[in-house]
Amino acid sequence: MTDRVPLLEVRNISKYFGNVIALKDVSMSVYASEVMCLLGDNGAGKSTLIKILSGVHKPSEGEYLVEGKPVDFNSPRDALDHGIATVYQDLAMIPLMSIARNFFLGSEPTKGWGPFRRFDIDFANRTARAEMAKMGIDIRDPSQPVGTLSGGERQSVAIARAVYFGAKVLILDEPTAALGVKQAGVVLRYIAQARARGLGVIFITHNPHHAYAVGDRFTILKRGRTFGTFTKEELSREEMVRMMSGADELDALSHELSEFARRDAAETARIDKQLAKSLEEAEEIFEHDGSPEQKG
């Protein structure tokens, strides 16, 4: 793969927000017909990296290349014009609008001229259904509201839309995060489908199982830095999990938890002792005053 030019590449990217280091010296790339998984725990810098890739943020340092040429994006529109489309988890679709209307929102096909220029709804319906069919999903009725689709299907509409409008690189921001097992499987299949059609896919997730299922290469982020990029052969799933969560930290955590438990036990014993003492005292008082039964 090294002899080809990557569709998208960043070299030694850093991003500072004031004195907070969000990203430091991160490099990654994605080739055509490849799924690059971007992994990391919450706060690892995934969101910052995506925002740089999709043109929302500018990197503080480092190079951004598209098909080998340096680029400088000022807006998400610039990135889109270079064929880099980002599908966000929740802001992708408008539930009450139809599939076809969502599909072409902002880029509606028209026919006619002057005051009679109108939204070509037939073309929109036909195309939306055909493009979804290419993704391997059959929609009964492109005029049905997106809200009637499942979460996985909604993601697939967004993916199909990005592909249709000429995306070469597809950035998917946690597309499986809010989904059940079965629906996540559906989305993973679309990711594989997009790869088969020659796209470079950057798949952001914090689920190593989803990543391992479709990924070709893996870039692991932790605390704004990268552990590097690994191919599937170089990295077992277990190693991946260890790197993501940080095995040392897990050890530290379990030590801390056992400490809690030990302290807890000591505390409980102390309270028990106190309780027994006060009970004894109470009994003594009863013996002096006489119990209610004796009175009655």
Partner: protein, 350 residues
């Protein structure tokens, strides 16, 4: 429907939606049913008292037409995710502007009306820009402009004319032009159908066309459905909303001009509470208060129900005091019915 599917993912989803179920998903269905029901009720209780005559029909259609023009514009704005409570005041303001310009400054009435349209568009523009810039709910902004506009109208009209009503406008220059456009009527079978009905139907038709068949219509739905998502794909959400505010104010101007032409006078209090009634009509017509869903035809039907009830009560000989009770109850019932139908339709599609 193509039949090629992924074997495991599309399984139970292949039941075709029948025509009836498709109809059930239209937002205006509830209003259509309601309109038919109301017509039948009054045909029974007031059928022999003139409700069914052509003149009776013309009378409730005229009432419906004034409200319908407002309701259709409000419906578009509501679908776009915003409210306008200032349209009632705008009616008074537009009428007073025309009357003051005509009677005090000697401006020909047709020109005064055009100037009033300009004023209305400006008010709509300011409303829209205020909502976008301040990010406050349009409910608050236009509640403010409701009082500002009404106050300005009364104060300025009193300064210029010494009164709050201006009459005998038909004596002024340029009235004939207005009468031709807005004050005429079409005789059908001995009854006179006011031209305002034509305006109502035309505006409902144009609004429906814009909503369903233009890019702008798609943008209106998206602006109300999820403004952030719409912006992400390049929809000029702010421009859409400001345009809708301007259209709503223009609708208020049209109603003001029609009323002024027909009754030949202006009253600074005209249009009071019309904003609520227009919103009720739009909601009865299946427009969601939260935006992103609705129909112009539905709003026009909501206005038709309103007109039939208002005039039907008169024909039936019921005390007109009861009208507001009807109106309020109808609003609540209509929303419940619409929600029920929408739920059923969603279930049917799944």
């Amino acid at each position: 429907m193509t039949s090629r599917t992924l074997p495991k993912t599309s399984d139970e989803r292949l039941v075709e939606a029948g025509l009836l179920k498709r109809l059930l998903t239209r937002p205006e269905l509830g209003a259509l049913g309601g309109a038919i029901l109301v017509w039948i009720i009054f045909a029974i209780i007031a059928g022999n008292r003139g409700f069914l005559t052509l003149q009776g029909t013309a009378s409730y259609l005229e009432v419906s037409s004034y409200l319908g023009i407002l309701a259709v514009a409000i419906a578009l704005l509501m679908i776009g995710g915003e409210f306008d409570l200032s349209i009632g005041s705008m009616i008074g303001a537009a009428g007073a502007t025309i009357a003051v310009l005509g009677s005090v400054f000697g401006v020909p009435l047709w020109l005064a009306s055009l100037i009033a349209l300009g004023v209305a568009l400006l008010v709509g523009f300011v409303n829209g820009v205020m909502v976008i810039r301040t990010k406050l709910p349009s409910f608050i902004i236009t509640l403010g402009s409701l009082f500002i506009l009404r106050g300005l109208t009364i104060a300025l009209t009193r300064i210029f004319t010494g009164r709050t009503q201006v009459g005998s406008l038909d004596q002024l220059e340029g009235y004939e032009v207005l009468r031709l456009l807005f004050g005429g009527s079409i005789p059908i079978g001995g009854a006179n159908f006011p031209v305002s009905i034509v305006w109502w139907l035309a505006i409902a038709a144009v609004a429906t066309w814009v909503l369903m068949r233009t890019r702008f219509g798609n943008w209106i739905f998206s602006a109300g459905g999820n403004a952030e998502a719409a912006r992400n794909v390049g929809v000029p959400v702010s421009r859409v909303k400001v345009t809708l505010f301007m259209a709503t104010a223009a609708a208020a101007w049209l109603v003001a001009t029609i009323q002024l032409t027909v009754v030949k006078s202006a009253d600074t209090l005209r249009g009071t509470q019309q904003e609520f009634i227009a919103i009720i009509a739009a909601v009865i017509g299946g427009n969601l208060l939260t935006g992103g869903y609705g129909s112009a035809v539905g709003a026009a039907l909501g206005a038709l129900i309103f007109g039939m009830v208002r005039q039907g009560i008169v024909y039936a000989g019921i005390d007109a005091d009861w009208f507001q009770v009807f109106l309020g109850a109808m609003l609540i019932v209509a929303v419940l019915v619409n929600n029920f139908i929408r739920d059923q339709a969603e279930k049917a599609r799944r």
